[in-house]
């Protein structure tokens, strides 16, 4: 009887130890899985953080490009306005000159005038790049002698009309 109780106690002890061992092993396995999952989440968060930082950098770059484009656009609008005032200016009677109409009526004349403007424009670029003024440019005092695009630059003795 006593030996049966001892045997039972022994069996219960073995079962308890075995169960505890299994429980701990199970916990360790779950812990490993949790650790792995946690690592994966940490990696995912890091990746997302990197993506967010890249997106912020991209947004900043896009904003800078937009700002540059806006500046260029404003410059072009100003240039367009200057060209519009130059080519389609309003006469003393309030009538707006239409270069398109003139080009239809007198194509060769308009072509020659535009060629002269182009030549004057190229000369302006050359002067701005450091080419010295010619005697003719220095001595120009009348509008018909002056550079039509950049008289301020090309003709120091010309007082604009």
């Amino acid at each position: 009887m006593f030996s049966q109780i001892k045997l039972l106690l022994f069996v219960f002890t073995i079962l308890g130890v075995g169960g505890g061992y299994m429980y701990v092993k199970n916990l360790q396995a779950e812990n490993e899985i949790l650790t792995l999952n946690n690592q994966k989440l940490t990696d995912a968060v890091d990746e997302q953080q990197a993506v967010i930082e890249q997106q912020l950098a991209d947004i900043e770059q896009i904003q800078n490009i937009n700002a540059d484009l806006n500046k260029i656009n404003k410059g072009l609008e100003k240039d367009l306005q200057i060209l519009d005032e130059k080519y389609n200016k309003i006469n003393a009677s309030g009538q707006r000159r239409d270069v398109g109409d003139l080009a239809l009526n007198k194509p060769r004349s308009v072509e020659l005038i535009m060629n002269k403007y182009n030549k004057d424009n190229n000369r302006c670029i050359a002067i701005a790049s450091g080419e010295p003024l010619t005697e003719e440019e220095i001595n120009a005092t009348r509008k018909s002698q002056a550079n039509s695009v950049c008289p301020d630059l090309a003709n120091p003795n010309y007082i604009p009309y």
Partner: protein, 76 residues
């Protein structure tokens, strides 16, 4: 014909402008090459004439304009 040309010039550059044969349309009236071309087109329209382009390339003085226009008013 002369009156019409002067009228077009005054309408284009200003009624208060002193315009005579020796007036330079760029140096004295402040116009540019396109203004001169515009004036020529207006004169053609006012007098119902047509002036070949090559005859007007070098027109700068009012006298030169009158001369070119005069040739075509007589011949048209």
């Amino acid at each position: 014909m002369r009156d019409t040309v002067i009228e077009v010039l005054k309408s284009h550059f200003g009624n208060d402008r002193d315009i005579n044969d020796n007036t330079h349309m760029m140096d004295d009236l402040g116009g540019d090459e396109l203004d001169i071309l515009d004036v020529i087109v207006q004169v053609e329209s006012a007098l119902d004439i047509s002036i070949p382009e090559q005859e007007t390339f070098d027109v700068r003085l009012v006298s030169e304009l009158l001369e070119v226009v005069g040739r075509h008013v007589q011949s048209d």
